[in-house]
């Protein structure tokens, strides 16, 4: 379990992480989502003691990272898959991890196998690795000590769709065995595929957090009828606030059952009735982080 309490980091007067608190639970994959420059990497570096926090604490299984007697046995960390000496071979990087942590040398072959790196590839220098191979090697290095907690910064970066699926299955399996996973991404799609819980961060602050199911729920309901006017009237009668989406369907924060009941009571024919899923979460992501986005043209109005 990772517990973050009121963690803040300021450089001079510039606050990059402000008062963030959340918990990544065991058995769950927690997605740390935010646009580039939102403070995800700084937060993760503070969790593992590479950056000193200005205020607040981060603990892993109740202890500060620096107080862990053999951190690699309890927390697997991958902050940047490319941050390795380019002249070392992949196998050597795993061997160093295995030696420092004091685990059997058989772990190296096991982990290479787990992340599907061949013996040939393990003998090559990481300077010649593709980004996807570096990510796999980084995951392997994080897992050498058989830790109960994983902290991964942008692990899906550079993976092809099959690779992302592979990582999802691997992390799912890991969490199902009781592991705690915290992974960051600036891509909602990745987080949606992999995570159970989502912590969204923008401009150094947490803008929302909860289980993926809750957040999808919070995205509301989408309803469509060939007779838009009648549908709006029926919703108005039931006291349900709606927004007309560009495609003519209506979106509301009200529960899906209540929306269906209101349409039924008003005798309106429906052609679509569903929870606003990925699109809704994406809208929320873009809306919540709109003022932090560098590319303002990606902004979309929701309301």
């Amino acid at each position: 379990m990772i517990t973050i309490e009121a963690l803040s980091k300021a450089y001079g007067g510039n606050t990059v992480v402000q008062d963030i608190s959340f918990t990544a639970r065991s058995g769950r994959v927690t997605g740390f989502l935010g646009p580039n420059g939102a403070g995800k990497s700084t937060s993760m570096r503070m969790m593992v003691g590479l950056t000193a926090p200005t205020r607040g604490t981060a603990t892993i299984n109740g202890r500060r990272f620096a107080d862990l007697p053999n951190p690699g046995r309890e927390v697997g960390v991958m902050l940047d898959a490319s941050a390795q000496h380019a002249g070392r071979t992949g196998g050597e990087i795993l061997t160093i991890a295995q030696r420092v942590m004091g685990v059997p040398s058989s772990r190296v072959a096991e982990l290479l196998d787990l992340v599907s790196l061949t013996g040939d590839e393990a003998d090559r220098r990481v300077g010649n690795y593709s980004l996807g191979m570096r990510q796999r090697l980084g995951i392997a290095a994080a897992l050498v000590g058989d830790p109960g907690v994983l902290i991964l910064d942008e692990p899906a970066n550079g993976l092809d769709p099959a690779g992302i699926r592979w990582m999802r299955d691997l992390l799912r399996d890991y969490a199902d065995h009781g592991g705690t996973v915290l992974l960051s991404s600036h891509l909602l799609g990745e987080i949606e595929i992999i995570a159970d819980d989502i912590v969204m961060i923008g401009q150094g602050r947490i803008v929302c957090q909860g289980s993926k199911a809750e957040l999808l729920q919070a995205a509301g309901t989408v309803v469509r009828s060939p007779d838009v006017a009648a549908l709006r009237e029926a919703m108005g009668t039931a006291g349900i606030q709606v927004t007309v989406l560009p495609d003519g369907s209506l979106r509301t924060d009200t529960d899906i059952a209540d929306v269906g009941r209101a349409a039924y009571d008003g005798g309106v024919l429906l052609t679509e009735l569903r929870t606003a899923d990925s699109g809704g979460l994406e809208d929320m992501f873009l809306e919540l982080t709109a003022d932090t986005q560098r590319d303002t043209h990606t902004e979309r109005s929701v309301a």
Partner: protein, 268 residues
């Protein structure tokens, strides 16, 4: 993508045994390994042996017969050791920042003082091994050289003098360690090192010949000057005092500053 195997990613905990603190000796062994496991690192250390052997052969070939003594051989073989070892010590530290491998190193061992201590120990181990090699190569060269020249073999290096030569090299080595901690950059560190060992001694000797006051102060403030007496033999207590003050001034003080920077700096 090859098929997944039976190995699971899930934490199994007990299988790898109890979680115990990492002993310093283990960190030293790993840091020693890291000095050799890249091509650059391997050849840097191999170059000590290669240039050492070249120096032995050159001494036999070019030195006048009366100079074919053990001290001269040991000095010739030892010179590359003196020049290259500080780079080994420096790069061991700076590569963690320049190659960014510190992101993993300092998460395996969060107490950065232990990592630096382990790196210093492994540099010292390489230094001792290199000097034993230099003394041995010097001995072989001395026997071979005097045999070839037909002169008698002269063993003119006392155990005490050999010890101060070792100390002199360890002082050189700690210049690398100090610079590594202060600058934490391979390129900047190497440039600064060559400025310190090649440029500064020339400037100070120039200053000493032109400025009388500096000629008096020099032994107390000039580190390479004080080191020379370690290499050429210590004869007076004042020489030891010179070594102690210059080492304190140029290695210990900046070293303390550098260590604080290492501990507090952000690893990115």
């Amino acid at each position: 993508m090859s098929a997944m195997t039976t190995t699971t990613a899930g934490p199994t905990r007990a299988r790898l045994g109890e979680i115990a603190p990492i002993p310093l000796s283990r960190v030293v062994r790993v840091e020693l390994r890291k000095m050799f496991d890249t091509r650059a690192g391997f050849w840097l250390i191999a170059s000590i042996a290669i240039t050492g052997l070249t120096a032995t052969i050159a001494t036999i070939a070019f030195a006048p017969d009366q100079d074919l003594t053990y001290y001269n051989f040991a000095k010739a073989v030892g010179y590359p050791v003196t020049v290259i070892l500080p780079m080994v010590a420096l790069l061991a530290i700076t590569s963690e920042w320049s190659q960014r491998s510190g992101l993993t190193t300092f998460t395996y061992v969060p107490d950065r003082r232990r990592v630096i201590l382990a790196k210093t120990w492994s540099s010292v181990i390489v230094a001792i091994a290199s000097m034993l090699f230099a003394f041995a190569a010097g001995a072989v060269g001395n026997v071979a050289g005097s045999t070839i020249a037909g002169t008698s073999t002269v063993w003119d290096l006392s155990a005490g003098h050999a010890t101060t030569i070792v100390l002199g090299n360890l002082v050189s080595l700690s210049i690398g360690t100090m610079l590594g901690m202060v600058l934490r950059s391979s390129a900047g560190g190497l440039v600064m090192y060559f400025v310190l060992v090649l440029l500064v001694p020339n400037l100070t000797s120039l200053l000493a010949t032109s400025q009388d006051w500096f000629a008096h102060a020099q032994p107390w403030v000039d580190l390479p000057f004080a080191q020379t007496s370690l290499f050429e033999g210590m004869h007076t207590g004042a020489q030891w005092a010179h070594v102690a003050t210059t080492v304190g001034l140029w290695i210990v003080l900046p070293g303390i500053y550098g260590l604080r920077r290492v501990i507090r700096s952000e690893v990115k």
